[in-house]
């Protein structure tokens, strides 16, 4: 099953199970089914609760906030996550604030789905990874799509928390298959670490034998795996990959024993540097593993640049598997 299908069926199940679930977004109804086809079929089965909207990102998120305020569960698709910039006020200054600014807890069940990321040739305003801009807002949870995490569980967790949440969806994942049964391919296996918000852990033979640890959100999975494979086959360097589902708030504790065993910790993100999730993570890890880190944590980002449209230029700017491969090589020689 492809990741987009998994997400689609998670949405379908939610709509079927709960009369109070709404899905709103531009061009999401059938037969079009959304720019990335994630909502395909939903409006046909639930016409009154799956609504195609005008081009009004701010108002769509605002209306979803209103539904949530009235006790419904609202899911919004922003066609390209870049346009969540137009809903920044509704997300940060209304929905998140409302959970506590009235002096008591007001649960708001609201998910804003944001397709993000490049390598698809969509150009500078349709390819960004804007996660960092939403980081650190009280009562705003950030999740990222991953090929490990079943979206039925992810969406359920997001709604159950009763705080507004954003699901960042790296577009390159939609057509990838969901991993299953702890096996990725001939080389890699995976399991989950941490009970509450499970982090996928990818390993070679055994989860406790590794040189470096890569931490990366879901969208980087395949690039990281390619790099890890090459590092193993070419340099006999083995790495562990940790892929969380929830980026913020983030619970470091269950990962600390794993991180403590790394030659080097590498945090990989597609975003440009500066105030990123990875930077936040790094500065949290340093004090927690004070005196136990063998080398500084390495952050891998895309270049400090707009994302060009032409494939050859875009490729150079964004983090690729060889960017991660290079980081692993340097880690081995650190």
């Amino acid at each position: 099953m492809r990741v987009a299908e998994n997400l689609n069926s998670a949405l379908l199940d939610l709509l079927a199970a709960d009369e109070d679930v709404f899905v709103l977004g531009e061009d999401i109804t059938d037969p079009y089914g959304g720019a990335f086809k994630v909502t395909r079929g939903l409006s046909t089965r639930f016409p009154g609760r799956v609504l195609a909207t005008p081009l009004s990102e701010g108002a769509i998120v605002g209306a979803a906030g209103g539904l949530a305020l009235a006790g419904d569960k609202a899911i919004v698709e922003i066609m390209f996550g870049d346009f969540a910039a137009l809903a920044f006020d509704q997300i940060v200054n209304f929905a998140s604030k409302s959970v506590t600014m009235y002096g008591r807890r007001v649960p708001l069940r609201l998910i804003v789905r944001c397709p993000v990321g490049g390598n698809r040739g969509y150009g500078p305003t349709h390819s960004q990874s804007l996660q960092k801009h939403f980081l650190g807002v009280p009562n705003l949870a950030l999740h990222e799509l991953s090929p490990f995490h079943d979206n039925a569980r992810v969406l359920a967790e997001m709604l159950a928390a009763g705080t507004p949440a954003i699901l960042f969806e790296d577009k390159v994942l939609y057509t990838q298959r969901m991993f299953q049964d702890g096996r990725i391919d001939d080389l890699f296996r995976y399991d989950f670490v941490g009970a509450e918000t499970p982090v996928a852990r990818v390993y070679l033979e055994r989860p406790d034998e590794y040189d470096n640890v890569i931490i990366a959100p879901g969208g980087m999975t395949h690039r990281a795996l390619t790099a890890m494979r090459a590092a193993f086959l070419e340099d006999e360097s083995s790495s562990l990959l940790l892929v969380p589902s929830r980026l913020y708030p983030f619970t470091l504790d269950p990962l600390l024993p794993i991180l403590a065993g790394a030659r080097q910790i590498i945090v990989v993100e597609e975003s440009t540097a500066g105030g990123t999730w990875g930077a936040e993570l790094a500065q949290e890890i340093y004090p927690r593993l004070w005196g136990r880190l063998r080398h500084p944590i390495r952050l891998v980002h895309s270049a400090d640049s707009v994302i060009p449209t032409a494939a050859h230029l875009e490729r150079r700017v964004l983090v690729q598997d060889d960017t991660i491969r290079a980081a692993l090589r340097e880690a081995d020689h650190a």
Partner: protein, 307 residues
């Protein structure tokens, strides 16, 4: 169509006059507290506009949602009468309706909610109206906004949704000819009537402060929003008698005087002196008493997330 109510104000039911005077003295009390340095932060009084929420009051039912804005004390008091809770909120004392966290601009009580970011509430109200539309009962969402708030794009995005989806959304515009310090003609091209029409939304303009007449006029319109589930814009042609917040009235004297001339408080006192004077005294005393009581309370408690 604009309906101008008669110059002579019809006689109010005692309860209505009391609410209007409660709001008036509440607001005057706040300005006074500010002057004495007993309040911090900011506040926006609705002096001169008190009659609007009072007129609307009985047209709204319990399950209706009301969205208020920065200038919301009258909206709150007309709905709940609860001057203690509101004052405690503004003063950060025990019994505060939102534990002192929201303050003057951010109040939530039942289906009543106010926010301090202009324009933000309309899309939210549209979403609530979408929720109400699905329910069995003929409920509506009413949202108060000022003339200046029509500068915000969110207003238009919401109107479009409301009309497209046939939402029971009542937009109540308090057009007081000014936004903070900026006269309406300097911040609004065209008219509110035209802007409602542009979205195929019914619009009603109301001049004058006769509560009984306003109510009579609006009763069928509100019922239509409710039962036909169609949005409407009601625009009150009104006057801000006081400053924007506290002591920041930079209007020319003639403009301030014009506002004062239209103040229902003065007009009603003239038209119904025998009813007005004792009621006025009662509410003044009542507010003084409330201020006295609330000011004596300990600070509000909030289980804040920090130590």
């Amino acid at each position: 169509m604009t309906v101008t109510t008669e110059r002579r104000l019809s006689r109010l039911a005692a309860a209505d006059l009391d609410t209007m005077l409660l709001i008036r003295h509440f607001e005057l009390g706040l300005l006074d507290l500010f002057e004495q340095g007993k309040l911090n932060g900011t506040t926006h009084t609705c002096l001169g506009q008190e009659y609007i929420p009072v007129a609307l009051g009985p047209l709204l039912v319990d399950g209706d949602h009301v969205f208020s804005n920065h200038r919301g004390h009258g909206h709150y008091l007309s709905r709940f009468g609860d001057a203690h809770g509101l004052l405690a909120e503004i003063m950060g004392r025990q019994g505060a309706v939102c534990n002192g966290v929201g303050g003057s601009q951010h109040i939530l009580r039942g289906t009543y909610l106010s926010t301090g970011v202009q324009g933000q509430s309309l899309p939210v109200a549209a979403g609530v109206a979408l929720h109400l539309r699905r329910g069995g009962d003929p409920l509506l969402a009413a949202a108060y906004i000022g003339d200046g708030t029509w500068g915000e794009g969110a207003v238009y995005e919401a109107l479009n949704l409301a009309r497209l989806w046939s939402l029971p959304l009542l937009v109540v515009v308090e057009h007081n000819r000014i936004a903070q310090s900026t006269r309406t003609e300097d911040q609004m091209a065209g008219t509110i009537a035209g802007r409602a029409q542009a979205f195929g939304i019914r619009h009603q303009r109301i001049a004058g402060a006769d509560v009984n007449a306003i109510r009579e006029l609006l009763t069928p319109l509100v019922e239509e929003v409710r039962h036909r589930r169609e949005p409407a814009v009601v625009e009150f042609d009104t006057y801000r008698v006081g400053p924007h917040s506290k002591g920041d009235d930079s209007r020319d004297r003639p403009l301030i005087e014009e506002a004062a001339r239209h103040d229902w408080y003065r007009l009603y006192a003239e038209d119904h002196p025998e009813q007005f004077a004792p009621a006025d005294r009662r509410q003044r005393d009542r507010v003084a008493q409330i201020i006295h009581e609330v000011a004596a309370r300990p600070a509000s408690a909030w289980e804040s997330p920090c130590a």
